[in-house]
Subunit: 326 residues, 2 copies
């Protein structure tokens, strides 16, 4: 049995020595390499595996394919980059037919259109369980790239959108108690919206000191931009942005209204840190792009990540988010 | 059930309309995109799936990882390019332990060193069967890139090395009748040698009109550089280069000495076409790099691909090579 987090740390340690042409190697959302005097090439890869990331009967092939593209594109957005091309490596079993493949293509096509990139290559293998591995290539100007490791003590922490919808939608999907009004939460799970425009805008205006897309839950991704750099964070639980649909439905799954929003994962919202004096500009970006941005706390000068209630009492939160590794 | 070849044709047809920045989209060995005024970015992806491409107990994790890198790097070589970076997306089950992961890393490291590229990113997922999906990024000068579709009627056809060793090695591995002297054939299967230097040299000297690495068997890859462009080919079966190990062992598996060499697959040797007047220069490259290059026949002006014996009698050959799709 392999612990994904410690395994990734070891891989990182082992392959961190890279040549000068590698601007950013293993360990951030995407790799960044110098292939052009004025632009960095971004490259990121992510998989969707049957019965791990999705249950075949609960998602259409079209949504599955679009989702596979969305989660990889999201990493490009978190660097402040522009997604350009993607390659799709697929493993399909003998159960899948040509109609299934056509639907996958529909999903790739719609993802390509929606996120502004092109399918340029791929591979098709046999596999007893479906997997879809997407590699997205993008680009960003070296002076605009936003990394995970730039947060400074005192920086404010922000998240886009609302958290926990996708994880709750996933629970609803897997349950047998879906109401018509649950469509919103389920769509948030099936059709995640990577924050490409927001990430790009924040980078272009140099408003953020670090940024990450929330894929494994807020708690874990907070650690990635703070504890890994020797810093900590304090966040206020009642500032966590929740959708009205989430608030209506959460009590059927958890007595703790915030647990799924804090650790549920697969939000693909952006978490970022920003100097205090950028506050007004961030509000303007939020208004102009019509994307909710919420200030949830601050970066501190040492670990841990602390979650406080409105009375400044520290809460115990499950550290790990939604880790896909068994 | 999906037919891999027809599926790939449909994917190709559907995604062939690409923007001007895409020099070469789906359908060749690798994608080529313009990211730099003087160089094209090459990107290719390939998977190794447990029980499809390998049996876990028959190959070490180190060889498996190195092999995964080798087969993707091979596609870069077939374009005349230079491999630069790779991303590794892995699916591992709860049966694999940390030692297994360390061995995979050993294989990535040795492949990286051997083929001159760097690991810059990756992903780790849970999966009930192991899969390793490698995306290799490379580069090539636009004026030197070698495509699949440049062959002309009358061009000579060449292959590097010897064919069939890997497929026979695979059969030996799966059998229980391995002799000590079979080590060579088994190594040819476990540790394929992509012809990076040869591919690059042929491209730099502009000696070839089309090139492909033989991954699915000579017959199928011959079709890819001839029939798909409306051309055909005539090859002479007794010119097919066979290793002495292959010749000694083939009779235990097939009465037809050439069948596995023609259709076995996973050779990762180069198949290329070249104008008649380049013959002497090709001999010189072969000599200088100390790599066997054999002239096996000619490109013809129309399909099919014909295989002749020494009396010019046409032989019947199973069309399909080693297609991994069930």
């Amino acid at each position: 049995m392999i612990d994904e987090l410690s395994a990734l740390e070891r891989i990182r340690a082992r392959f961190q020595k890279v040549s000068n042409s590698v601007f950013l190697g293993i360990g951030d959302d995407t790799a960044a390499v110098k292939v052009h005097p004025e632009r960095l090439l971004l490259a990121t890869t992510d998989s969707q595996v049957e019965d791990v990331h999705f249950i075949k009967k609960l998602i259409s092939a079209t949504d599955l394919a679009r989702r596979s593209v969305a989660v990889s594109v999201s990493d490009i957005g978190a660097m402040g980059g522009i997604a350009k091309y993607f390659l799709a490596s697929m493993g399909l079993s003998s159960q899948e037919d040509e109609a299934f493949l056509e639907e996958l293509m529909d999903g790739f096509e719609s993802g390509a259109k929606e996120f502004g990139l092109e399918l340029v290559g791929g591979n098709l293998s046999s596999s007893n369980k479906i997997f879809i591995d997407i590699t997205v290539l993008g680009e960003v100007e070296p002076q605009l790239i936003v990394k995970r490791n730039g947060a400074k003590p005192g920086d404010f922490l922000y998240v886009s959108g609302t958290l926990g919808d996708s994880a709750l939608g996933h629970k609803l999907l897997a349950s047998s108690k879906i109401a018509e009004s649950d469509e919103y939460l389920i769509m948030r799970h099936k059709r995640p919206q990577p924050r490409l425009n927001l990430g790009r805008e924040l980078a272009k205006k140099r408003l953020v000191s670090s940024m990450i897309d929330i894929s494994d839950g807020l708690m874990l991704d907070l650690e990635r931009i703070s504890i890994r750099q020797g810093l900590g964070a304090t966040i206020y639980v009642d500032r966590i942005p929740l959708s009205s649909n989430y608030k209506e439905r959460i009590s059927d799954f958890s007595r703790d209204i915030y647990s799924i929003a804090l650790s549920g994962g697969e939000d693909y919202e952006l978490l970022f840190s920003s100097a205090e004096n950028k506050r007004e500009e961030i509000k303007k970006v939020s208004k102009r792009l019509n994307i909710k941005i919420t200030e949830i706390g601050k970066v501190t000068d040492k670990p841990p990540v602390r979650v406080l209630d409105r009375y400044e009492t520290e809460l115990k939160v499950r550290r790990k988010g939604f880790i896909h590794f068994l």
